[in-house]
């Protein structure tokens, strides 16, 4: 049964799981980077870390996780507040514009990330 066409996985249960798996991946990436930065790095060391395939793949995984995580989160916020019930008919227009804006920003983040890693 599909009740929403704009949620990430078309099902609340799927979104629930994706939100948690992606959260763990993003947190792992930030802890990895945080640990590295606390040790202090110069340009050569930092560049060497991101020249490795494993770090590039890990970072891309984190960015893709962030894309899914951000969509599910922003969608949840938008469908709660930008609604017909709270704002009248213009709520629907605002929500659609907001969702288009969010997906554009997420698209830019993904492309930008790939460009940083492999550009």
């Amino acid at each position: 049964m599909v009740r929403s066409v704009t949620s990430f996985g078309r099902s609340g249960l799927s979104d629930w799981l994706v939100q948690r798996v992606s959260a763990v991946i993003i947190l792992a990436w930030f802890m990895c980077i945080g640990g590295t930065l606390m040790g202090g790095v110069d340009y050569t060391q930092w560049k060497t870390i991101f020249d490795g395939t494993s770090m590039r793949v890990f970072t891309l995984l984190a960015i893709l996780s962030l894309a899914a995580h951000a969509w599910i989160g922003m969608w949840a916020v938008g469908t709660d507040y930008l609604t017909e019930r709270l704002m009248g008919p213009r709520g629907n227009v605002l929500r659609l514009a907001y969702q288009i804006g969010c997906s554009l920003v997420i698209f830019v983040y993904v492309i930008w990330g790939i460009q940083i890693l492999w550009g």
Binding site: W46, K47, F50, G73, W112, I116
Partner: protein, 128 residues
């Protein structure tokens, strides 16, 4: 079936007039920090880009981040990350059925807020 509840009883669903419990504040700040981080990601991506492009841009970024305004911005983003992460970990723990009662929820929210303050202060000390 005959309803024995009077339909005309007063209903107050105006959330703005209610005093919110600490669990509600934890939930709202989790959302707000998420939206904030969605925007803050642009700053983090820009930093990652500048740090990897060339030795010159790496040095320029270091120079830029030594300014007081830049430090404040980084602290804000890091604070958002800390709170959003801790509140998220609380969610994961609750998913395992731990702390799902009202008392557990209040306790969890208190722990998340207290731990966030401590970690945010430590992060601030590290940035400055």
């Amino acid at each position: 079936m005959v309803s024995i509840v009077k339909d005309k009883r007063p209903v107050n669903l105006d959330i703005g007039t209610m005093r919110l419990p600490i669990t509600a504040w934890a939930s709202i700040t989790h959302r707000a920090s998420g939206v904030f981080l969605f925007v803050g990601t642009a700053i983090l991506m820009w930093m990652l880009d500048a740090s990897l492009k060339s030795p010159e841009s790496f040095a320029a970024l270091q120079e830029c981040l030594s300014g007081p305004v830049a430090k404040l911005v980084i602290w804000a983003v890091v604070s958002g990350l800390i709170y959003h992460s801790l509140a998220g970990i609380k969610h994961l723990i609750m998913d395992f059925g731990i702390g799902e009662t009202m008392e557990g929820g209040v306790m969890g929210a208190r722990i998340v807020f207290a731990l966030s303050v401590v970690l945010i202060l430590i992060a601030g000390a590290w940035i400055w």
